[in-house]
């Protein structure tokens, strides 16, 4: 009996843990009807800009496949200090909120109205390096261009024979 109770306890905890795990964007978009109106957790990188609109703001969060719009209170949204772009990897955030397949207040956008935004990893600067081989290729091409453009001017033109 004790063993049975223990197993039940473990299984219940596993189920709760599975439910609490963040849902992927693919799962949300492809099964939008299933999740619409429910509270979900979504995790990903904040990309682009935090776009403040009055006392709220839009953030777009990408989990690697799709980016989903997050409609949040301004003070929640402004917790995000770094958004992803060319030079930076944005803050990784965990969003808890109500998912809408077609949000009636936002013109039918598929979005999440955030209750809580938690920064789980700070954004950082990307390491951008240039391959040395690219410089060599550029130099060779520059030389090739120079030769092909200047070459005809280096060869003396043949004078036409007057007959």
């Amino acid at each position: 009996m004790k063993l049975f109770v223990c197993l039940l306890f473990i299984i219940c905890n596993l189920v709760i843990a599975a439910e609490a795990a963040p849902i992927s964007s693919t799962e949300l978009i492809e099964n939008a009807d299933l999740y619409s109106g429910k509270i979900v957790e979504f995790e990903g990188e904040a990309i682009g800009n935090v776009m403040v609109r009055g006392d709220h703001a839009w953030i777009n969060v990408k989990d690697g496949v799709y980016a989903i719009g997050i409609w949040a209170k301004k003070e929640q949204a402004l917790k995000i200090k770094q958004t992803g772009g060319y030079r930076h990897i944005g803050d990784k955030v965990l969003v808890t909120g109500t998912f809408y397949r077609a949000d009636p207040q936002q013109g039918g956008d598929l979005d999440i109205r955030a209750n809580q935004i938690t920064i789980i990893q700070k954004g950082y600067k990307r390491k951008l390096t240039i391959k040395r081989s690219k410089f060599i290729i550029a130099a060779i091409l520059f030389l090739a261009c120079f030769i092909v453009i200047v070459y005809p001017y280096l060869i003396p033109k043949r004078k036409k024979k007057i007959t």
């Binding site: 978009i29 009807d33 990309i47 409609w71 397949r101 956008d109 240039i130």
Partner: protein, 505 residues
């Protein structure tokens, strides 16, 4: 009997392709300057390599095949069709070097998609792309929308008969002004004026919607280029949905409509002939087509209760429809939402809208409203012939800038292109189905590629089969050039091996 192209013919073709390649090389200066301004040094090196390689190849071709001949019809059309392939190969180099693509084929796919103003994309990690890379992606659309040859005509080729032949090869039979060079310059003038105004409007909206000024400006210029040239690339992976902004949607809808209007009509309106707008067969056809398709789309969406209210129906339904009909490909929904939520009726209307396309001599793709209008008029004329007494003389006219008699020759040429498009739409569908995609999705994607639209059900992805990538590249190329110059190119290749010796005029 086909005449075998001589070595002199091939030299002329190679020489003019060389000139166009040099022109493309010079254009790389724009993203290069962008890279330098924003200190994107790695991208600056990429664009330098691309520029130098293009100039080297272009000059080399001109040196190896010097020609002072004017082009004949087949040469002019061959130069155009080959130039687009060469532009794709060279335009893909900075894309590939950026590290955002899995393979050179993927980069070529995006380059052709850009030049042909399609908008289907295989780029990875777009949200972390450099400003200069986005500048190049959108510039390709702007150049392709105006026409690569139009650029060359404006800056590189003097007013010759050969210039007109290249211009026609780029699916632009109409001359807005009497001279083809003046026409090319007018197309540029009109586009640059709209560019300035459109960028300003989008920058203001972007700024008011919470974007930093510089970002709002860059997004403004890019979205303008992709919108007015009915291209459909966007700087963010969510396309227009990224902005979550109704004013931005309205502004892009206006751009898409402007882009889909015939340049001749732009000229007529600029010249104060406002009545032309209401009389023109293309505008009438577009109006009837868009209204009908939107009503049926709306029925499809409301039947399935896809959206919660009328505002959402309009913002989602009408936006995707305008985007499809104009051949742009901007979207405010996710690609999988088309097959999973929209239902067959609404999806079918989007496919029809993509297949019909915008106006002739515009930046839009597809069959074109002029040809649909001619087909409908000819159909009505034939019905009248059956119903009226045999002695009755049935005369039909269309109004496009001027009154034009509906002759059999006109109907035939419209029908040839119309049927060619339908064949290409279905050929791509068959290949899509062969690779295991559902029929409806395959038809949607094939139509989107061949009509240079760019909307997707999710098939277009880096993981899609190589054969399908090549199919869509060919479809985009054929769709943009409207077949004739490609048929001529194929004819020349065949004639090279089987044709009789002689000199073509």
């Amino acid at each position: 009997m086909l005449l075998r192209p001589t070595n002199e013919d091939l030299k002329t073709v190679a020489y003019y392709i060389g000139r166009l390649i040099v022109g493309l090389g010079i254009v790389f200066v724009i993203p290069l300057i962008t890279a330098l301004i924003f200190k994107e040094w790695d991208r600056a090196v990429d664009f330098t390599i691309s520029m130098l390689l293009s100039i080297f190849l272009g000059v080399l071709l001109q040196r190896l095949f010097p020609s002072h001949q004017d082009m004949n019809w087949s040469q002019g059309l061959a130069v155009t069709s080959i130039s687009w392939l060469v532009a794709m190969l060279l335009g893909a180099i900075p894309l590939m070097l950026s590290g955002h693509y899995l393979s050179y084929l993927d980069a070529c796919f995006d380059a052709m998609s850009g030049f042909a103003t399609t908008g289907l994309a295989l780029i990875q990690n777009l949200d972390h792309a450099a400003n200069s890379l986005n500048m190049w992606r959108h510039l390709m659309m702007f150049l392709g929308g105006q026409g690569i040859v139009v650029i060359a005509l404006t800056f590189l080729v003097r007013g010759t008969a050969g210039a007109y032949r290249m211009y026609v090869g780029e699916a632009r039979e109409e001359k807005v002004l009497p001279n083809v060079i003046q026409t090319a310059r007018f197309i540029w003038l009109i586009s640059l004026i709209y560019l300035a105004f459109g960028t300003l409007v989008l920058t203001i909206i972007g700024f008011l919607e919470g974007m930093p000024l510089i970002q709002a400006f860059l997004h403004g210029i890019w979205i303008f280029m992709a919108g007015f040239d009915t291209g459909g690339f966007a700087p963010m992976s969510q396309s227009i949905l990224y902005y979550h902004s109704f004013p931005y949607e309205i502004a892009t809808m206006v751009l898409m409509v402007l882009g889909t209007i015939n340049f001749s009509l732009h000229y007529a309106i600029w010249s104060g002939k406002f009545r032309e707008f209401f009389k023109n067969i293309e505008i009438r056809t577009l109006f009837v087509s868009m209204t009908t398709l939107f009503i049926i789309t709306l029925i499809g969406l409301t039947q399935l209760r896809v959206y919660p209210n009328w505002i959402a129906d309009f913002r989602k339904g009408f936006y995707q429809l305008i985007s499809a009909h104009s051949g742009t490909g901007f979207t405010t929904i996710y690609a999988p939402q088309f097959p999973t939520e929209w239902g067959y009726l609404a999806l079918l209307m989007i496919i029809f809208a993509m297949a019909f396309g915008g106006s002739a001599c515009s930046t839009a793709g597809g069959i074109k409203a002029l040809r649909i209008g001619i087909f409908c008029k000819a159909f009505l004329q034939d019905l009248k012939r059956i119903m009226f007494p045999g002695s009755a003389v049935i005369i039909a006219k269309i109004h496009h800038i001027k009154d034009i008699m509906l002759e059999d020759r006109l109907v035939r040429s419209a029908m040839v292109i119309l049927v060619s498009y339908i064949i290409v739409y279905f050929a791509g569908t068959i290949i899509g189905v062969y690779y295991g995609y559902p029929f409806c999705d395959a038809l949607f994607e094939s139509t989107s590629a061949a009509a240079n639209v760019g909307l997707s059900t999710g098939i277009t992805a880096p993981s899609m089969p190589t054969g399908l990538k090549i199919t869509y590249i060919i479809q985009m190329w054929m769709g943009r050039l409207e077949f004739m110059s490609i048929f001529i190119l194929l004819g020349l290749v065949i004639a090279r091996f089987t044709g009789a010796r002689g000199r073509s005029k």
